[in-house]
């Protein structure tokens, strides 16, 4: 599945980025560049060759790990991706972990207390989370907790002053883990304080989707005969809900969680922009705004790889959750 999808994505993106009216050569040359300079830049970038040849060259380079040079940052795109991805990974994974820990029990609770006050409250909460613009929620939290109460930093990943005094040894690129392992406490504290707001924003949005999903799949399972049978046999409710029902209800929930995780790893754009979180989304929007085509292509290819990989992991998880599903 990976190869055809990547080929497809690369063709679509290559087509979109190369058949557009806005020319990258004109952008590099600046507003006062003469026709001659522009033509020279075009031939340097290989933009004057036929499109299918350009695509062939691009793919050959990509296969050898060369995504080209970013027009905007003037670094190799692959280096940029390596620098920006860990920030996104850290933020998204933390948010997903918290969401799973809170969301699944909340959904089960809502389903087992169907049509009671707690259920209505949970449903209203998750509806509001789905309908609320993520970037707006971020702004509100910033306004309240950073500007008004001055509890948390407005944005960024870590206080630059702290890193100056207590430099971080880069191992995994995940600040929370790197600082924890090396015992760099001031930097760890700063990293924790910076990650709270973006994580909260993401968790709110994720919880809404996940709680809804786990509630509805749980409700569907609870209607099944074998649950009624277990009830009639007088098994304790806790055993029925958590051992019999939840395991089956988890499959659709895991699907949604996996899909969303894959989506967000590709850049939780809006959250990253609001909190100036130097992740993939931040990088992608910057490159899109400046029509940095090599960077846009690189980001989209990486995003596609991540997305397909996460989907594969979800498929494998199915077999773990439901022994009836077997592959191969």
């Amino acid at each position: 599945m990976l190869v055809p999808v990547l080929l497809g994505v690369s063709v679509v993106m290559f087509f979109i980025t190369h058949v557009v009216p806005s020319s990258p050569a004109r952008l590099i040359g600046g507003p006062h560049a003469t026709e001659e300079t522009i033509r020279q830049i075009e031939s340097e970038l290989g933009l004057d060759r036929p499109l299918h040849l350009q695509y062939g060259i691009y793919i050959r380079k990509v296969l050898s790990g060369d995504f080209g040079i970013s027009i905007h940052s003037r670094n190799p795109v692959i280096e940029d991706l390596k620098n920006y991805f860990p920030a996104t990974f850290e933020l998204t994974s933390l948010a997903m972990l918290i969401t799973l820990i809170i969301g699944i029990p909340l959904g089960v609770f809502s389903a087992t207390h169907k049509d009671r006050a707690a259920d209505h409250a949970t449903r209203l909460f998750s509806l509001s989370g789905v309908a609320m613009p993520l970037f707006w929620l971020g702004l509100l939290l910033q306004l309240l907790l950073s500007s008004y109460f001055k509890l948390l930093p407005v944005g960024g990943r870590i206080d630059p002053l702290v890193t100056l005094l207590h430099p971080i040894r880069h191992m995994s690129g995940l600040y929370l883990i790197d600082t924890l392992i090396t015992g760099n406490w001031p930097a760890f504290k700063s990293a924790v304080l910076h990650i709270i707001l973006p994580t909260t924003t993401l968790v709110y949005f994720l919880l809404a989707t996940l709680t809804r999903m786990s509630r509805s799949s749980m409700l569907e399972i609870l209607r099944q005969d074998y649950i009624r049978n277990a009830m009639a046999d007088g098994l304790p409710e806790k055993t029925i809900f958590y051992r019999y029902a939840l395991r089956n209800a988890l499959i659709p929930t895991v699907t949604i969680a996996g899909l969303t995780y894959g989506l967000l790893l590709g850049g939780d754009f809006l959250v990253e922009i609001i909190y100036s979180w130097p992740g993939l989304g931040f990088y992608a929007v910057g490159s899109m705004a400046s029509l940095d085509f090599p960077a846009i292509m690189g980001v989209t290819m990486l995003v596609a790889v991540i997305f397909v990989t996460v989907n594969l992991i979800v498929d494998i998880l199915y077999a773990v959750l439901d022994p009836r599903i077997r592959y191969g």
Binding site: V5, V9, V20, L127, V130, M132, L139, A304
Partner: protein, 306 residues
């Protein structure tokens, strides 16, 4: 005499409409009846009707209609909410309430355009794929796979950026990423409908493929499409606002909610009213379509019917 004749004829044509569409009418009445029993769906319908009224009568409701376009009042810059400007004013002294009311018009149009485009492309493709099977089916479904195996917001942003960021291109970009969902839904429906006797009869009678697709397959697979579309109108508004927010959608001075939040953000935390009210408008709108979509799903999905 002639008048009576005309009236009778019209009456009878109405009756014949009733007779030939008795089943559909009964179904419609049933849906309305079910919707009326669910308070949340009613709330959704209420919100949407209010928004439609705001959109249609915007010039009469907005206190300063000109402020939604090119009017500027430098002397009234960034006023806090007060009498006369219930939601405050923006950086050009324009009344926020007026701009939000006109924004409703724009947002509903965006929602309908995006969903409409996606439905128009996705639904026929799905029906064709499901009915024809074989090679054509394979090709169409692989193309949707490529689109679905890709984070849609990233794709929409890339397309919008490449086409040149403006509102129209944002609408096109989002539609481009959405049609595969409809293709999937309709294809699934078609596959189960294809085996039904009435389609078999139509084929046996040598009814053209085109007629089978447009007269039989599509109308019969509309229920899940309706549910999805009613949810999508809300999400389309949300997404367009997000694109505008990052600078890949509407451009000033358009009164678009996402753009208003983006500009209002520069005046935080002092002018808090600037960025907050458009966000609230987006949230209420999306909530309305979500409630309606959920209600419709409960009614139209036979598995949930009791």
């Amino acid at each position: 005499m002639r008048l009576i004749e005309v009236l009778i004829r019209r009456r009878s044509s109405l009756n014949s409409f009733r007779d030939t569409h008795a089943h559909q009418l009964r179904e419609l009445r049933f849906i309305l009846h079910q919707l009326r029993r669910s308070p949340l769906s009613l709330a959704g319908i209420g919100i949407i009707l209010t928004l439609v009224c705001l959109a249609v009568f915007a010039p009469y409701i907005a206190p300063y209609p000109g402020d939604a376009f090119y009017d500027m009042h430098p002397d009234k810059k960034l006023l806090a909410p007060q009498k006369g400007h219930w939601l405050g004013t923006d950086d050009f002294g324009r009344d926020m309430l007026s701009r939000i009311v006109f924004g409703t018009r724009l947002s509903l149009m965006i929602g309908i355009y995006v969903t409409g485009l996606a439905v128009m492309v996705g639904v026929p493709l799905g029906a064709i794929a499901g009915l024809s099977g074989g090679r054509l089916d394979e090709v169409i479904m692989r193309v949707t796979d490529i689109f679905l195996s890709f984070p849609p917001l990233v794709l929409a942003m890339a397309i919008s950026a490449a086409l040149g960021p403006n509102l129209i291109n944002a609408i096109i970009a989002i539609s481009v990423t959405w049609w595969p969902w409809y293709t999937r839904i309709v294809r699934g429906q078609t596959l189960s409908l294809r085996e039904q006797p009435f389609i078999e009869v139509a084929r046996a009678l040598a009814v053209s493929k085109r007629r089978i697709v447009f007269r039989h397959l599509i109308p019969n697979s509309l229920a899940p499409v309706t549910v999805q579309a009613s949810l999508d109108v809300g999400y389309a508004i949300l997404w367009t606002a997000a694109l505008s927010f990052v600078g890949l959608g509407a451009k000033p001075p358009v009164a678009e909610w996402g753009l208003m939040i983006a500009i209002g953000r520069r005046y935080l935390p002092d002018s808090w009213w600037y960025a907050t009210s458009p966000g609230l408008a987006i949230m209420i709108t999306v909530l309305g379509f979500n409630l309606l979509g959920d209600g419709l799903r409960d009614v139209l999905d036979p598995r949930l019917r009791r």
